[in-house]
């Protein structure tokens, strides 16, 4: 599938084998085809993304090819989102944060911040530039402010003219790039202290770092606000392997031990499109809906380990990426289009028949009740007028309806004199039309009849002629026969003569040659 068709860019980044993997002589399960930079093979399955970064890709390369463009847009007042997804120690933190302060090793976030600040310095002095940061996490669909632990269940507010936003979330001003990191560290510490079950928590919470870049023109007061979401997605975070010599487990295979997950189990049963699940709509989607929609810039970075030990996690990460590339939007086409007119007609007849059928079955139900000896009160009775009309009509209604426009007769309408009157005048009118038509047809038939007579005459004349000719022919035939005989008789001597002549000339020839 062509990458262009999706709004979401998905890239995969593979880290190199780490020391302990090398020591354990772990093999790499992934193969990078040498001629393509968007494909990877893992145990014979090929995954294609917008870009695949190999273990040797530099931080700068990753930044330039995934995030730089987005930063430009954000500075122009658009929104952007970068998701990071992957298991623990797959290089997520390295990719997003990296080594702070190191030119070569710093990750996407410091580079973004640096770029934004650099941009600020190139601007006119009449432009006032502000950068604010929010940091929160979404756990069990509750939004916890990581910069203020007292805010544990912030609502998403959807302003009809504006952006969906987290109401009441703390915003911190930053004026230097490394302040962003201080704030992030503060948030991370808060995250650890606030929860009771860290293991479960970290594998099920999304953390969101939100950078607002706002510029205001001091001269004309024009404001431009861009937002950049950096989301650490939960889901692939498996409980880290502890050196236990166990098997590699796939989190998804396990069942939940805690009854608190009953709600998830139940809500997985219902068909999402037709039902309403009281709490399942995701706050994350709501916050990000504009970033996911249409033309916003969204990139998902899949972080993966190449080691065979992590094969199942890596595969599930890549699968997620594949699914994410085609996140289904919610435009649903309710009606199948009935295209041609006849199809519409047919549908309508079908509905009509169905409606009539149900009247019939209501009548039958009532009949059933009468039979059982029950008394059916007047209110419950099926209108007899209706059923009288309905019963004989049902079986033939489709043919009648198709052949004549009266099929749409409203059998159920109340005794509305006006309507009936109108109906009747229409019927009369139609009757008149039919009469005219019959008249026309009758005339045509007359005309055709006379034509047939004419044709008949011509035909019989022709037949007579034919007969005469036949007689003539019969008469002429014997004549022709006898004449032929005469000719034969005359011709015979000639032939004999010719034969003699031939013999004579031959004789002459032979004599001459001697």
């Amino acid at each position: 599938m062509a990458a262009k068709e999706c709004n979401i860019r998905v890239v995969a980044r593979f880290r190199p084998l780490n020391e302990s993997e090398k020591r354990a002589a772990s093999e790499s399960v992934v193969e990078f085809p040498s001629n393509k930079d968007d494909t990877i093979h893992i145990t014979d399955k090929a995954f294609i993304f917008d870009k695949v970064f190999r273990p040797n890709a530099t931080q700068e390369k990753v930044y330039n090819e995934t995030a730089k463009e987005i930063v430009k847009d954000v500075l122009n007042g658009y929104n952007g989102t970068i998701f990071a997804y992957g298991q623990t120690s797959s290089g997520k933190t390295h990719t997003m944060e990296g080594v702070m302060g190191s030119d070569g090793q710093q990750g996407i976030i410091p580079r973004i911040v640096q770029d934004i600040f650099n941009h600020m310095h190139t601007l006119n002095t009449n432009l006032d530039f502000q950068i604010k940061i929010s940091y929160f996490e979404i756990y069990l669909d509750k939004i916890h402010d990581l910069l203020d632990v007292s805010k544990t269940n912030l609502p998403v507010h959807e302003d009809k003219n504006g952006v969906p936003y987290v109401k009441g979330v703390t915003q911190r001003f930053v004026s230097l790039p490394n302040e962003v990191f201080k704030i992030m560290n503060e948030g991370k510490n808060n995250r650890h202290t606030a929860v009771t079950n860290m293991n479960e928590h970290s594998s099920r919470s999304h953390s969101v770092l939100l950078i607002y870049a706002q510029q205001e023109n001091a001269d004309n007061g024009k404001k431009l606000t861009g937002k950049l979401y950096l989301v650490d997605l939960a889901g692939s975070e498996n409980v880290s392997k502890t050196g236990a010599k166990g098997q590699v487990f796939d989190e998804a295979k396990n069942i939940n031990k805690s009854l608190s997950a009953l709600g998830n189990v139940i809500s997985a049963l219902a068909d999402g499109t037709k039902s309403h699940i009281p709490y399942r709509d995701s706050k994350l989607t709501r916050i990000l809906q504009e970033s996911l929609g249409g033309n916003a810039r969204t990139t998902i970075i899949l972080c993966c380990s190449p080691a065979i030990y992590n094969k199942s996690e890596t595969k599930s990460t890549l699968d997620f990426g594949q699914r994410a590339k085609c996140i289904k939007n919610r435009v649903t086409v309710n009606e199948e289009l009935t295209t041609e007119e006849w199809k519409r007609r047919w549908e309508k007849e079908r509905e009509e028949v169905a409606r009539l059928k149900d009247q019939l079955s209501r009548a039958e139900m009532e009949f059933e009740r009468w039979r059982r000896g029950e008394t059916v009160t007047k209110d419950e009775q099926v209108n007899l007028l209706e059923s009288d009309d309905t019963l004989p009509t049902t079986s033939v209604v489709s043919t009648v309806a198709a052949a004549n426009p009266l099929g749409g007769l409203d059998l159920r309408s109340s005794v509305n004199v006006d309507e009936w009157e109108k109906e009747r005048s229409i019927l009369y009118q139609q009757l008149d039309e039919k009469d005219d038509e019959i008249n026309n047809l009758a005339q045509t038939i007359e005309r055709l009849k006379s034509q047939i007579v004419e044709q008949d005459n011509i035909f019989s004349q022709a037949r007579k002629d034919n007969e005469n000719l036949q007689i003539e022919l019969n008469r002429l035939q014997p004549e022709s026969e006898s004449e032929k005989e005469e000719v034969n008789e005359v011709l015979q001597p000639f032939e004999e003569l010719a034969l003699n002549y031939d013999q004579k000339t031959q004789e002459v020839e032979t004599k001459r040659s001697y």
Partner: protein, 585 residues
């Protein structure tokens, strides 16, 4: 410190403190707990109690296949092992074995854990339902279910669950002691509390089964076990064991379960669940810390009812259509059921809405009014400015309700009015919310609005044949224009934000809606009564857009197979028609 105290510290470390282990050392507490349990093997238990002695009278320890095993003793039989302390010590060892095995399986060494658990099982399987052993057996079997499931051996897990069920049934006549009472029987514990604890563990078994059947995609079975879980939770409520029961969660889960039965066409059960959910919510104290949450949930349940009504109407019309198609009684397609599959023990008011399939307009109207009432009150919570998504969904439901009601209506004037209502509702919303920020929603609204115009137009055209008046002709042309502009606006939402240009290629999920929008526009153009020549030309252009797109993107053909061939035909036919029109001119 007594043996029991040391044991309880280990248990606390294993099951409570371990929850707070850091990401880098996720099993720190588990490993420490394992150590604590291991140390207890050699510790003397010390005290003896009469109660224990009494219980051990019915339990014998024998040796079979080189393995010590507990068996039950009938009252007239003599025990082989007479020493209570030997039996007691062995049982405590099994208890410690159990915890250690469970730790193995919790720390990703499931095979090790499983073989240890199986070994314990052989030692107790002939006396599973002894009062002293009951809790150990149940916990052990639950652990095995978890392990088998993690290996994706779902059928094994179900087999074990059957054993668990058997154990549970046998336990009903006895009084199972708590797990820790294997060490020391605590006479201060009420029989009821012991029972509750045991029941709670068994509830987990059922909950595991719900998940296993869910994984096997046997939704009906899964739903049934979810229901049993809820049912058992409800008994906790009856007996006022409030620590095990949260009315708020229970109500929510019950309402969610209703949505399963509803989409499964079982409206009687769905209705019962929803009524129970509503009822249970009354038990949530209004002083509930998160008061807004309660108001939200009340409104949310109303939305469940709305979906119920929409589905009921929709299923009913499908049923009648199918019956008509096959020329059979609707009951032969599917019979209405008025009795739910199960009943939670709650006293409910009489139902205010039917659960039978709808047969005629009057019945449909009742359902419609019921749903409209729910929508209105839900909207007073989900106001537009603040809850855009929810509010819009409620409006979309309203539109759906009208469209389902139309089926049961046969009067063309009234059908038109219903579609008009939908149009008013949807077009007002389109004017109010920001397209930039609610792009998805806007697209949905515009598409549905366009469809409404199309349906209304068809009805008006039908009317026109009956009553030929200038007014209808004017109306038709107006509707046609609105329809076209709506679909054009829908298409413009696809344009690039910056360049304002149409994309070369649409994402897979948009191909069908986009091409259908062109198709609708083509149809609209062909319905204009005046300027036939120009409008048919426009119509032809639209068909060409579709065909060109599909020809350029062969993969997209599958999304629009049927329409594509029609477009092709139209491209052949329309020029002939245009030529004829020109000649007439």
């Amino acid at each position: 410190m007594t043996f029991l105290e040391r044991y309880l510290i280990a248990v606390d470390k294993c099951y409570v403190q371990s929850l707070n282990d850091s990401e880098t050392e996720p099993y720190k507490s588990k490993y420490e707990a394992r150590k604590l349990f291991e140390e207890l093997y050699d510790v003397d238990i010390g005290d003896k109690s009469d109660n224990l002695e009494k219980e051990f009278q019915t339990l014998d320890l024998i040796e079979e296949d080189d393995k010590k095993k507990f068996i039950m003793i009938q009252s007239d039989q003599q025990a082989k092992e007479l020493s209570v302390s030997k039996k007691h010590r062995y049982l405590i060892h099994l208890l410690l074995d159990y915890h250690i095995a469970a730790i193995y399986s919790d720390t990703e060494e499931r095979s090790e854990g499983e073989s240890r658990l199986r070994s314990i099982l052989t030692s107790i399987e002939q006396a599973l339902h002894h009062p002293l052993l009951c809790s150990l057996s149940l916990n052990l079997l639950n652990q095995l279910i978890l392990i088998r499931t993690s290996f994706e051996q779902y059928n094994d897990a179900i087999e074990i669950a059957k054993q668990t069920e058997d154990l549970y049934n046998k336990s009903l006549v006895i009084e199972p002691y708590l797990l820790r009472e294997i060490i020391h029987i605590d006479t201060s514990i009420q029989a009821d509390d012991r029972r509750q604890e045991f029941e709670q563990t068994y509830t987990h078994t059922l909950f595991y089964l719900a998940q296993i059947y869910g994984k096997l995609d046997q939704k009906n079975e899964s739903a049934n076990y979810c229901r049993l879980t809820l049912e058992r939770q409800l008994t906790m409520f009856d007996t006022n064991h409030s620590k095990h029961f949260d009315p708020f969660d229970w109500a929510t889960n019950c309402a969610t379960l209703s949505q399963y039965y509803m989409t499964n066409h079982d409206f009687a059960t769905a209705r019962h669940c929803l009524m129970c959910a509503d009822k249970m919510l009354e038990n949530v104290p209004s002083t509930h810390a998160e008061n807004d949450k309660l108001a939200e949930r009340i409104a949310s349940f109303k939305r469940c009812w709305v979906k119920y009504a929409v589905n009921l109407l929709s299923d009913s019309s499908d049923r009648l259509l199918q019956a008509a198609d096959r020329d059979v009684n609707p009951n032969e397609i599917v019979r209405s059921s008025t009795t739910p599959q199960f009943q939670f023990k709650l006293s409910l008011p009489p139902p205010t809405i039917t659960c039978s399939f709808i047969l005629d307009y009057d019945q449909a109207r009742q359902v419609f009014l019921f749903a409209m009432d729910k929508i209105d009150s839900a909207k007073s919570y989900y106001i537009l400015d603040g809850f855009v998504t929810d509010h819009v969904e409620l409006c979309q439901d309203t539109s759906q309700l009208y469209s389902k009601l139309v089926f049961f209506e046969s009067n063309i004037d009234r059908k038109c009015k219903m579609h008009k209502r939908r149009i008013d509702l949807l077009s007002t919303l389109c004017g109010e919310i920001s397209e930039e920020h609610y792009l998805y929603i806007m697209r949905q609204l515009l598409f549905e609005l366009g469809e409404c115009y199309s349906m209304l137009l068809d009805l008006k055209l039908e009317q026109k044949n009956d009553l030929n008046s200038n007014k209808t002709i004017e109306k038709i042309s107006h509707l046609t224009k609105l329809g076209i502009s709506t679909f054009e606006r829908f298409l413009s939402t696809m344009n690039d934000k910056k360049t304002k240009e149409k994309p070369e290629t649409y994402a897979d999920e948009y191909v069908r809606p986009v091409l259908l929008a062109h198709f609708y526009i083509a149809r609209f153009y062909s319905k204009f009564i005046d300027n036939r020549l120009e409008n048919l030309q426009q119509s032809l252009n639209q068909y060409k857009i579709i065909v060109n797109y599909v020809d350029k993107h062969p993969n997209s053909r599958e999304y629009i197979e049927q329409e594509y061939s029609i477009c092709k035909e139209m491209i052949d036919l329309l020029p002939l028609k245009l030529e004829k029109l020109r000649q007439i001119k």
